[in-house]
Symmetry: C2
């Protein structure tokens, strides 16, 4: 059984590259398998170790994830590389287990409205699925980490405001169901740092030392401020994507995930060593520019570069 | 004599629009006087009250500020409107006093290297100028507020890292010289929220209730996170510009001041009422697009809009 604390140590920050999954979830044009491999290898060389690699979803609807098994294998071949794949049902869970991926992620909506509209099931049924996933994990040979993310945890595109108590209840339910880690996701980028900090702190408190993964979108420019608040409240695992890949076609111009290059700068400026070389990370953007020329890329560090002079080190 | 606490109350947040000065400092194309007036009037209608309107600099070198007296008068004609003008020497100070502007801002570099390279004077000499400006204020009829900003306070483009103790020493010197408010400026956007919070907290502590104005640039995407940290540490006056106007031509693509629209969202999300209507504020960007079509405009709220549903209010 994988020791979750070897993958997500308590005493350091882990930044996860989710661009290969969340970043590609809604795009029409995506990098071919070979470019995805270069993307992973080059980010690995820059110091990234955790990659959300894709989703076990019907290949007809999501051709961008048809090579998910090969990408799982690519990350698995790198010493210390940790791959994560998303599943939404039992078929996907079984395929993910068969792929040998190190971590399986699944999702529970924070609101009943979104759960029914998006996944056509109640939240109770979603929690039952989480439990089933944990049973399948327990019965598997390699016993991957299971992580359940609470989507819309900081505001819902259907229900609007979300009661943090309700989110914490779902976090508890997921841990009871047997997950190794829980994510809290500001899926549509509704929140500010006060709400993110408060929810993170409450989740960390009930997690009994298990990882709380904070997944933020920069839709309204609050992403880095929210990440800073999450770090202040004890989160040590944050998601981000290269160039902020993952914009939502339903909100034209809205950026996607928090820019991972800027997350590195934020963490280092707060005294959290990430082990990631920002300049090498920025260089990987060229792969996205070549293979997804129409996707806008974001990020302050990529625009302006590291501060010059001694401040570069001190930052 | 103007009561600084009527202009900058202790118990609420003031957001200052600095786009008409800092945002235009380095541009080649700028709005004509009439468009500047519409910019101010429309932002005033959205709820903005504090405007940095221009600089008393040689009109030959800075044609964008040749109409500064008229813009001072525009802001002065609006009930509760508060105009701020920048001066760098005694000639400018006298011109500013004659203009009747409500607040005069001046600058002291945080580092000796930057002071000599940028202003051709020592920091000691800059402090002497601040003192002289305060004497001129005291001798004037309307006694405007005087504010001294410490530029490069969080990292210097020449000297690199800056010792916060040195900045606090300069803040003290400025208060001793007689200023009503002190600014701390991350002029080149070098800092993260930890450094901004720590310096802000230290400055607020020694300000004896006088305003500390936090002036941030979003060069590396940390602007909103830094503003959040400054608010957490007691700052109640923050600068920003519409669309983040004020990019630096020496760092291609680098954004300028923190986007004021996003600052409003941040403040409201933290429970600080700003009195500013974000949608009306966003609408003012059209004036910039028309009159400065080549200047990129930034901002998450302008891209994505306010959250839908009840979250809009809760945010």
């Amino acid at each position: 059984m994988t020791d979750v604390r070897k993958i997500y140590p308590r005493d350091r920050v882990v930044l996860r590259e989710v661009g290969l999954r969340d970043g590609l979830q809604l795009v029409k044009t995506f990098p071919p398998t070979d470019a995805k491999r270069r993307w992973i290898r080059d980010e690995y060389a820059a110091g990234v170790r955790h990659f959300e690699v894709g989703s076990f979803l019907p290949a007809k609807t999501f051709p961008q994830f048809v090579d998910v098994r090969e990408i799982v294998a690519t990350v698995g071949s790198l010493p210390g590389g940790h791959g994560i794949a998303l599943v939404l049902n039992e078929r996907g869970a079984n395929e993910a287990l068969a792929s040998g991926v190190a971590e399986i992620a699944t999702v529970v909506s924070a609101t009943e409205e979104h759960s029914r509209a998006n996944a056509n099931r109640s939240r109770e049924s979603a929690i039952a699925n989480v439990k089933r996933l944990c049973e399948l994990r327990d019965a598997s040979a390699h016993k991957p980490i299971v992580n359940a993310a609470i989507s819309m945890a900081l505001g819902c595109s259907i229900a609007g405001a979300v009661d943090p108590k309700e989110v914490i209840r779902l976090v508890e339910k997921c841990f009871e169901a047997g997950v190794d880690a829980v994510g809290i996701a500001d899926t549509v980028g509704y929140a500010g740092p006060k709400a993110v900090g408060a929810l993170t702190g409450a989740a960390v408190k009930i997690a009994s030392g298990k990882p709380i993964i904070v997944h933020l979108h920069d839709t309204r420019g609050m992403g880095i401020a929210n990440a800073s608040a999450a770090l202040d409240e004890g989160a040590r695992v944050l998601d981000g994507s290269l160039g902020g890949l993952g914009g939502c076609p339903f909100a034209p111009g809205a950026t996607g995930n928090v820019v991972v290059e800027d997350l590195v700068f934020l963490c280092e400026s707060k005294g959290f060593a990430t082990g990631i070389d920002i300049d090498r990370l920025i260089a990987v953007r060229s792969i996205l520019r070549e293979t997804m020329p129409n996707e806008p890329l974001y990020g302050g560090l990529a625009r302006a570069g590291l501060p010059c002079g001694t401040a570069a080190k001190a930052a």
